[in-house]
Symmetry: C2
Subunit: 215 residues, 2 copies
DNA sequence: CGTGTTCGTTATAAGTTGTAACTCACGCGA
DNA sequence: TCGCGTGAGTTACAACTTATAACGAACACG
């Protein structure tokens, strides 16, 4: 086996600098958005000159892509942790909302406005299906009524997107609508479209969760 | 009364140039995203030098804000037109989807990732409530079941966000969930999160619309 | 037919990303 | 322990960007 624990001092230093750069990047994104991320500004804050960062990240887009990957990874980990501690579908929903409110810009890194030409690397789509798998597991545990819509049949026929998850068609549809509905509320809440409306977004969120578990 | 029809030749020319600038900006946004919008590139395509555009738009953010305003206006107009031609809630939903698919980046201009510090001008929020009013009208026409949840009561108590629209609490909630659910599906579809999944996003959308009108 | 407003131009400042070339120091192998 | 090579950080530079300032020219209006 390769001794994964023993890294050369240079690798350790490199990892540390990369982590620090990403830390500053996250901070900058949280306060001014991803489009305002500046490698130069990060370098100055770290006390070194601009081009030095190109030793650690090939380009600005490369850094952003890495931050997107970290965001996906973070969501998958919180989802997996919630599932392993016995959370059901409402539990996962609240884990999702907590994760989103914890850092809205991180949420938008995953589910926000995409750049038209951009295609995510393959490993990121892998993490995405990992997230969906947790959602599918939780959806399978819920009781389903007997009726099966044509859409659910179509879903069952093309289940390769779920990693061929062995869930009944109704569970596939439930996971999908769970995804879209929760994202609908969360996205609008985080974007501030509910501000000044007087009602509590958490109640609207819970209302959707309730509708989801007992249709 | 002021003769609104007679504009000086300079005003007419100014409006024409502004419209042409926005046309190029929309095209640029559609192909590379709003963050890649460049005043310089627009100026070059129009055959004039960079700083000339500052006679027409105070800043890059000013131009983007105007495009956002236009996008809101466009959505409000299609909504209003659909409602005036007798569209019910499913009709409005499909009008929304058509409008979104017609220009995805325009949709994201309205409902996409917000810049943390940005606050929309007051007139834009006015158009937003105009959109919501159409949705509320259509929601009111649908029959409601007797039960009223505490959330709906809360919604009815703070209905000033709807311009004090005289809709029953159940209609308020239905309009709200209609908004969030349709946005949930559309946003994920336009962002490409369904690509490669094999199913037709239109069917998922219709499935949500059906759930919305007959719970 | 002046006259002044407005348009478009160049010059400039202060940013940005990214490449190239050069030092210098650190760590690894001999 | 001692060289030597790899990699880190530096400056210099090119090509961009937004935005302001100052200037000239054209145009509409009285």
């Amino acid at each position: 086996m390769a001794e994964t624990g023993t890294r050369t001092p240079r690798e350790r230093y490199r990892d540390q600098v990369r982590a620090e750069v990403k830390e500053h990047a996250r901070e900058q994104i949280a306060t001014a958005g991803a489009s305002a991320l500046s490698l130069n500004a990060i370098a100055k804050r770290m006390g070194m000159s601009g081009p030095a960062l190109y030793r650690y990240f090939a380009s600005r887009d490369d850094l952003i892509t890495e931050l997107i990957r970290d965001a996906y990874r973070s969501l998958a980990d919180t989802f997996r942790a919630a599932a392993e501690s016995g959370a059901d579908l409402p539990g996962l929903a609240h884990a999702l909302r907590g994760w989103a409110l914890d850092d809205p810009q991180r949420y938008f890194l995953v589910y926000g406005t995409p750049v038209p030409g951009y295609h995510a690397p393959a490993d990121i789509t892998g993490i995405a299906s990992e997230i969906m798998a947790v959602l599918l597991d939780a959806s399978t545990e819920l009781p389903a009524d007997g009726s099966t819509t044509p859409f659910e049949v179509d879903l069952g026929a093309h289940r390769h997107w779920a990693g061929d998850h062995p869930a009944p068609p109704a569970a596939l549809r439930r996971a999908l609508t769970c995804w879209t509905r929760l994202h609908g509320v969360l996205s609008l809440e985080l974007a501030g479209h509910f501000t000044g409306m007087g009602f509590d977004p958490a109640v609207l969120f819970d209302s959707e969760v309730a509708d989801l578990t007992a249709p």
